[in-house]
Symmetry: D2
Subunit: 402 residues, 4 copies
């Protein structure tokens, strides 16, 4: 039973979620060192989570000989530097999303870790939610047939720290923050071996006084003809809207990760009880989440990462995947400017280069393709056919007996 | 209590739904004449619904002196001719969706009825569903604040008659058939006085052996910065997926018209009982609809139309609206070809020409705009601010006492 | 096309709902006279709904020669008197729920109308909701197999008029007010020909300062072994909870009539907009109903009643049904006192007297009954069997090949 | 970081679920020994889960000096013997539900472990689901006010092993198997310190060829006036119906643990793909569960148990709770026979003996209690009042201005 000692970089919300996941529920791995630029925040975090060591020097934290895994939970503009130090120290490195602020940064990180030969994982938690994992298994088993469309939506009232709202530090706005999830979720549904060809993206600053976009919608066209669709917003009211849908020739799946999970609560007085200072929005119908980190995929994500480290295997999400996502995001930002479809520029592509769209028409007989079968109310069957030669479309009604 | 005698043109699914709506549930108006090219179909329809007169001659049907309202339930390529005859006969004319196969046809119809001075209604039933009407009232009351985004989705396994699949007769594929609903629903949510400026559309023939698109996704940008989004498909498995969403600065609405309406049924043997010849797909979990025409808006639609005829008022949906929809669809088809945003060409526009986007930043104090307020777990308040002059984004935490 | 002129007795909430149903949406029938003890209320009501005549004398209203149908929308303690006058006047009479305050009153009303030979309808709207009607059709078709269990729940924060809270005027509390719906819904699901044998009921005054019960739960045992379950409360917070469930040997149905109907709305500012005086509970997530009278079954109920009057047929719900419900309620009140199962006393019973419970064990082979089949993860089949002679229960696992 | 070595008794479904929970997702504790009467099953289980030791002798398994915790996953009739051996060996003992086949057995187990001074946990997993735990926290915070009603429902098509269907081995039917969950869930919601006073229960063998009940409904009355309601069935079609509801004076909660958790899937071909031998019921709409053991509460349950063992604390669910549940079940079986309310016989009761029902009428003014406030459509306020002295109920309407 291997156990790991982790160095956590960052004491913000994501560092807290990661540490909560690792330390809760009888986990065997432990955060052994915490890094923050502020000694005060490091101390507070260490005390809360029972972490033996604190650091305010990044390189020293990463070089700590006790730890073998580094988890990067820093603002986007600090990922590259941390990755460099991890590679130099020969430590396994797990980086929060997005990998880089753009594809160039992500590519550099990928090159660095691959050259150094260190284990690298891309902490795309939403690809690991239990619902998503079971959906991916169903898709792999053919339950939906050929995948045609995937929609991923993430919308909420905006992030909690100032740096997210700073275009330079974050690398963008809602697309970089939320779209990175949506893009990789759709990519998993459609198939990671299928090449993303081009994107079309609308982005706007509809509400907030910021330079970056607070809302965006994007389409990603894949080599097999499938389409990925993402919708992101920092202007959404009503909670965190985290929904995915995927449809294929034989079926579809709908996932709601947060707002409708079978947990509904009405309170006339508020969750905190009769205390007066509670916000007005704490009354009425609410949709709590049972175990937040679990619904968001953190435990299954770390189980994959650490299990792969133990077994010398490749995780479901690596820096390579982070790079692909950044490349798609880059094309989105370009498309939002040019108002055209823009190609996804991939300097590295390790999937299939097949661009045959999957369509095979349904055979009816030597003369016809079948367009549709429909049972009529009188139980006769109507079929709509296309003549293979003339292209003419006709319908005929068949008695039950046939 | 005015009552009306109606001439129904067409005995297909839509003619049946319209007649069912009018004749059911103690309605006072009656279909008095039915037209079909086939006497056999006309006779059968007349017998089923207790209609006194049948016609196989279009002009004769429309000219019947007993009737004062004509309802067009014909294939798309026959709308224009029927409208001409109605205008010539001075009859009120209600036309099913889409109005024309393209904006030019729709514009011609609009000009004809306006010149003739006859009442004209556009039978966009989904703008009239009880849920949609109540949503529109809530939006008008300001419940959602400024509207930012509307999504309308209609997807099913494809239409039931051959002419829908014929690009020439229908004027297109899934966009013309289903997108016309989605576009007008979003337009109602965003505000019919707000000008649609430009569109971006992806369309593909993913599955069916046809010339037209069987799947499409479109974005419609409005003058106030709002975005309308539609998704249509003839390849959807699992029933009729008919969902709308609309979000604004203060709230959001989600509507499910068909698959999740509070009616859930599981059967191990099928809805028709133990009869063996029933289809396999009739077992398992199902989501029936209580009263189909009601959920689809037909009764409220005709109540508006006939009430307006009685009162000399304009209906919620007129040929003018049908024309706007066709103009947006034309731009969609162009965009799907050029792979760029395409302007919506409107020869007639009767709404506002204001193109000021609605953004007003939230005031914090003389120096700052407010980006976000968040209550921290320790009940202190974090605020994220933007300096009006420098543009710098900062956060600060305020104690409860303040 | 027969039309009817109705005399409405009562200007309260139920009279308003009934009139709204009849006058809205192009209905052909009209409320022609309105009765209230108060001339002021009668005038106001008449003006609002365009009703030609007003009455403050009950007998005069009913005797008005223009009207042929009387609808009783009065407090429970006035039903009997109104029924007597209708019978004497030879008018068709439709009475709101519950029919009487107890079975004796209901029986007297049934005898009176039957003796007079006038048409009588019991306005049990919830048996007529579109979802309920479609469910009943599915059940009739065998979709659920043999019905085993029906649950009907109605709970809200309490009725809107003082007389409901007065045990003497109403005949009881939440059971008489809400349980009458639940009992008749379950009876429809289980089968109206199946005799209700005995009941067990818990009733309590949990919150309100009243003499009658504000909460109750009851079980109704039917002759075929099926069980009906009702839950009623005047203490429910969060809206009107109106849910039915029914399960049989082959399937189940779940209905939600009000709170989850595919219409979800979040507002941070309230449905009435920015107006300050709106209640706090008007913000947050809400579940509006599209068309309230339709969801509650009123239009389909009156269509049945008036159609039956036109055709000389018996409606789905007559005074006889109202009497059965009152008899079950009487047994409930007795059981709540005696804390035992109490028999349902029926002086009139027109259904089946069969008390054979429906169980037929599933045949496996000559030696065994089949208890259960289960597919194991390795795709082998496990069967659990009961020996017909020894009664011994055993399991065996069968390979796929068999 | 304490870790534990566990001896698992039993290789059936529950032993598998428990072991899966402990060994999955980076858990630190390990099943170290597995006991089965069959060496073959023990070997197979040990191989599948990487368990070092196997036993076919119960006492030897429990006495193994390597292990410090014993988990009982045996048929109900073997719990007592196993508990005796654990107590004799001084091992911490965790027993699956129900604790005993009846209260006498449960009481004996409680006495044994308390006398021996060993740690004892009652593995009532459904009290530990993340949704339930968060609900309990909300209730504790006062979000629902005073609890009035709790409903817990568990229904499915019947258990998977023969011994469950054997009344002697199991101690009963669906009540013992499923009702034990429901009773303890409701008890948690209502408050474990509140004494259960009496029960009323209906039980029947509606479908299966067995001696025990396959369906039951029960009511449990608590000392504070709250009512617990359970519904259990082995005849349910459509999956595992696992729903809880709880309502209080200020709000309500609805939980769906299995069938509607935000995961919906439609497949026309089945989850296993195109393989022909898959069952017909694998097509159509389905409601998978993301991570089954998590939704069922197993990880949080063991985290509580092992954490308490480490810290010398008492777990949320102990043998004492198991005993209370058995005592309530005994009263249910008696009530099903006598057809009366039966008292819950408790030889040990460690909660409150207060039997004051919680009702406090709402104060309006010196003369009146408030029954209800209602906002009228014209924004005036209607209040319904009860005179404290005369008991008379009246209503009055107040203008906005007041």
């Amino acid at each position: 039973m291997n156990t790991h000692k982790i160095c956590m970089l960052g004491t913000g919300l994501i560092g807290t979620f990661y540490t909560m996941t690792l330390h809760n529920l009888r986990g065997r791995d432990r955060v052994h060192a915490i890094y923050s630029r502020s000694q005060e925040r490091a101390d507070k975090f260490a005390k809360e989570w029972g972490i033996p060591k604190t650091y305010t020097n990044l390189a020293a934290a990463i070089d700590d000989p006790d730890i073998n895994i580094v988890v990067i939970g820093l603002p986007n503009d600090q990922h590259l530097e941390a990755v460099k130090l991890c590679a130099a120290a020969g430590k396994a490195v797990l980086c929060t999303k997005p990998l880089g602020r753009n594809a160039a940064e992500a590519k550099e990180m990928l090159d660095i870790v691959e050259k150094a030969g260190v284990f690298h994982g891309y902490l795309e938690d939403l690809a690991y939610t239990p619902k998503t994992l079971k959906s991916l298994a169903a898709i792999k088993n053919g339950a939906l047939g050929r995948i045609l469309w995937a929609r991923s939506r993430e919308a909420h009232p905006g992030p909690h720290s100032d740096w997210f709202w700073n275009k330079e530090m974050a690398g963008g706005g809602a697309i970089v923050d939320l779209g990175c999830h949506c893009i990789e979720i759709a990519r998993n549904f459609i198939g990671k071996e299928v090449r993303p060809l081009e994107v079309m993206c609308w982005a706007a600053t509809q509400v907030k006084p910021i330079d970056a976009e607070d809302s965006a919608i994007g389409l990603v066209k894949y080599a097999n003809g499938a389409i990925g669709q993402f919708e992101v917003s920092w202007n959404y009211r009503g909670g965190m809207d985290l929904r995915d849908e995927v449809a294929g020739t034989e079926g579809n799946i709908r996932l709601d990760h947060f707002l409708r999970t079978g947990f509904e609560l009405y309170t006339g007085v508020g969750l905190g009880g009769y205390v007066a200072e509670k916000a007005e929005s704490e009354t009425g119908w609410m949709f709590p989440v049972g175990d937040e980190v679990h619904e968001l995929g953190y435990p299954h994500m770390f189980a994959d990462m650490f299990g792969c480290i133990d077994n010398g295997a490749a995780p479901m999400e690596s820096f390579y995947d982070g790079y692909i996502v950044n490349a798609i995001i880059d094309a989105c930002y370009k498309s939002a400017q040019t108002k055209q479809w823009e190609p996804v520029q991939l300097d590295v592509w390790r999937g299939s280069n097949d661009i045959t769209e999957g369509t095979q028409y349904e055979y009816y007989d030597e003369q016809y393709y079948l367009i549709k079968t429909e049972i009529l109310p009188d139980e006769r069957k109507k079929i709509i056919l296309k003549d293979k030669n003339t292209g003419e479309i006709t319908q005929k009604v068949i008695d039950k007996a046939e």
